[in-house]
């Protein structure tokens, strides 16, 4: 299989719970041998989507294709798709070894004992848990449980592994280590990971491609940098948490917002008129400065957050909306600002992203 062949494909997959539509006609094609991050706020239907692909739930309408085969009506245990649960779901009465061996021992295909031992050992080695084979799940840490859950799926040599917020239950330090590890493990095994997460940093850091799910639809599917630089609708920009968003009106090629009127070069289709400028593209000027690169937004300085490599300055507009400016320290020393003082924020209008109803028509 080449890189571009799809590993799985969703056609108009819809799932309703009573009045609630969790998945709303999802069409999706996933490349083989890639790391796909599925990003969405809570309630966007990410877990439902994963459970439908795994076969734990059937879609109300739509088809699911896996390795060129329609698996919509195939029960979960015949699909051969790996699933890593957020709470790990280890078998509490079995040792680590037997947890990992479970699929080989109890699956449809009989695997000889010698092969089981080899494969389980190799799998436990790969996730770095050699020596813990005889422990019980309640005798290991959260991070180790996560690895067991991963080894238990990977030992079955699936072509697709679904990970449901796999790092959600880990502390920050461990999360970062597991991020790199998940990527290396995947690259070694020629397998596709579909990693569901509610964290935009995690999704952008891990995915070869990122699918953004909003209200039961995949609104954007692209590379992390494309998502970051060119969010397709204002909801994506909002969810990325890297943009100052302003409401206003788009009229005759100019956007009228709290910063006055700004020239607009291109407009993306959206439900409402929204003007977006990235935190790190927004710059701070004195209140009486006359050399602004673009629109002028009068603000009051509130506070700053030191992040190590950069500083986030928090401002407030006249209508009490918080605006953020991200100053990377490699660009030089930050300005000294005094709390409560008025400043002007400005930016190069060419770097702004404008969403508008007009473009939708």
């Amino acid at each position: 299989m080449t890189q571009s062949d799809p590993i799985f494909r969703l056609e108009g997959v819809t799932r309703r719970y009573g009045n609630l539509t969790a998945l709303n006609g999802i069409d999706f094609v996933a490349e083989d041998n890639s790391y796909i991050a599925l990003l969405g706020p809570s309630g966007s239907g990410k877990t439902s989507l994963l459970r439908v692909i795994a076969g734990f739930e059937a879609p109300d309408t739509g088809r699911i294709w896996f390795q060129g085969r329609d698996i919509t009506d195939l029960p979960a245990h015949e699909r051969g798709i790996g699933f890593v649960f957020q709470n790990f779901a280890l078998f509490p009465h079995l040792t680590i070894f037997e947890n990992v061996a479970f699929g080989l021992r109890n699956g449809a295909i009989k695997v000889p004992d010698a092969e089981i031992i080899d494969r389980v050992r190799a799998s436990i080695d790969m996730v770095g848990l050699a020596g813990l084979e005889d422990r019980n799940p309640d005798q290991i840490s959260g991070g180790q449980k996560q690895r067991v859950a991963l080894a238990r799926s990977l030992v079955m040599q699936p072509k697709l592994v679904l990970l449901d917020e796999p790092l959600g239950a880990l502390d920050a330090n461990l999360r970062e280590r597991m991020q790199t590890e998940l990527r290396t493990i995947r690259e070694r095994l020629d397998v596709t990971f579909l990693h569901v997460t509610g964290s935009e940093t995690e999704a952008l850091a891990m995915g070869d491609r990122v699918a953004v799910l909003d209200a039961g639809r995949i609104v954007q599917y692209d590379t992390p940098d494309a998502i970051y630089d060119r969010p397709i609708i204002s909801d994506v920009a909002l969810f990325l948490n890297r943009f100052n968003l302003f409401e206003g009106t788009l009229k005759d090629g100019r956007f009228h917002g709290p910063f006055g009127a700004a020239p607009v070069s291109s407009v993306r289709a959206n439900d409402t008129d929204v003007y977006a400028i990235r935190y790190d593209r927004t710059r701070i000027f004195d209140a009486d400065s006359s050399e602004l690169p673009g629109p002028a937004l009068p603000v009051r300085y509130l506070a700053s957050e030191y992040l190590g490599s950069s500083i986030i300055f928090l401002f407030e507009t006249a209508d009490h909306k918080t605006v953020e400016v991200d100053h990377h320290l490699s660009l030089g020393e930050p300005r000294n600002l005094s709390v409560g003082q008025n400043y002007i924020l400005s930016w190069d209008p060419a770097q702004a992203i404008v969403f508008g109803k007009e473009a939708a028509q």
């Binding site: 029960p75 078998f91 699929g103 109890n106 699956g107 449809a108 079955m156």
Partner: protein, 288 residues
Amino acid sequence: MSAAIGKRQKATTFQLLAPGVVWMILFLVAPIMMIVYVSFWTQTTFAINSTLTLDSWRNFFASEAYVGALWTTIRLWLIVLTLTFIIGYPAALYVGLMVKSKTVATVLLVLCVIPFWTSFLIRVLAWRPMLGKEGAINIILQKVGLIDTPIEVLLFSELSVIIGMTQIYVVFMVGPIAFMLGRIDRNIIEAARDLGAGFGRIFWKIIFPLSLPGVVVGAIFVSVMVLGEFATSGALSGRKVNLLGNIIVTQVGSLKWAMASVVGVILTILLGIVVAGFLRIVDLKREI
């Protein structure tokens, strides 16, 4: 200094334990010791005195009726235990695992308990019009034409005692098993499915082992109650089935305290062995 604190903590521990210890000594240990002691007393026809003798013990093991009652008790206990498990487990599986809504599960469990709102004896005696020669079951079977003459073995036999006990005690098996099954994380079952295991495999490798503590607790409940039974056998066997419990009742009734004590001690030992045996199957402290 730390020794003084340790001493004070020790004193506190003793004070906190004292009420429980006193209670257990007064109402459990002392009575059991008393029964053991009385079982060695000398029994004459109309009186009993505290001269120690092995006579009652010898009489028990020399009497075919008494030893027979011991074996009947053990046989009935094993049959009823097996039946309550075979009938109770699927019911518990349905209530604890298949029913998704917690409310429905609770309602179903309460339904199981509703018969307990009537007295124990009424529940036992209610089987007579069901099982009798002219009882409901025989009438229905005759009307349907499955049998010509009534089945007489239904009532006043070992079978009727087994039916009665199974019906009365099965709920004590359902409760603990349903509780353990309800605690199983659904994701674990889904994980097993995802790893390619079919329903049978999932049941035997995941669900049953995880419900085992419930089975053990249920089995202990049923065993303790069935081994000490006398009312069901009294009411449904027509005096044909004698359990150790029935012997204790008749012996106490005729003021044969020594023999009643012997049977009491044997029953207590039997219960001890059974409970200890069940507790060896699972480590309940770890599971619950």
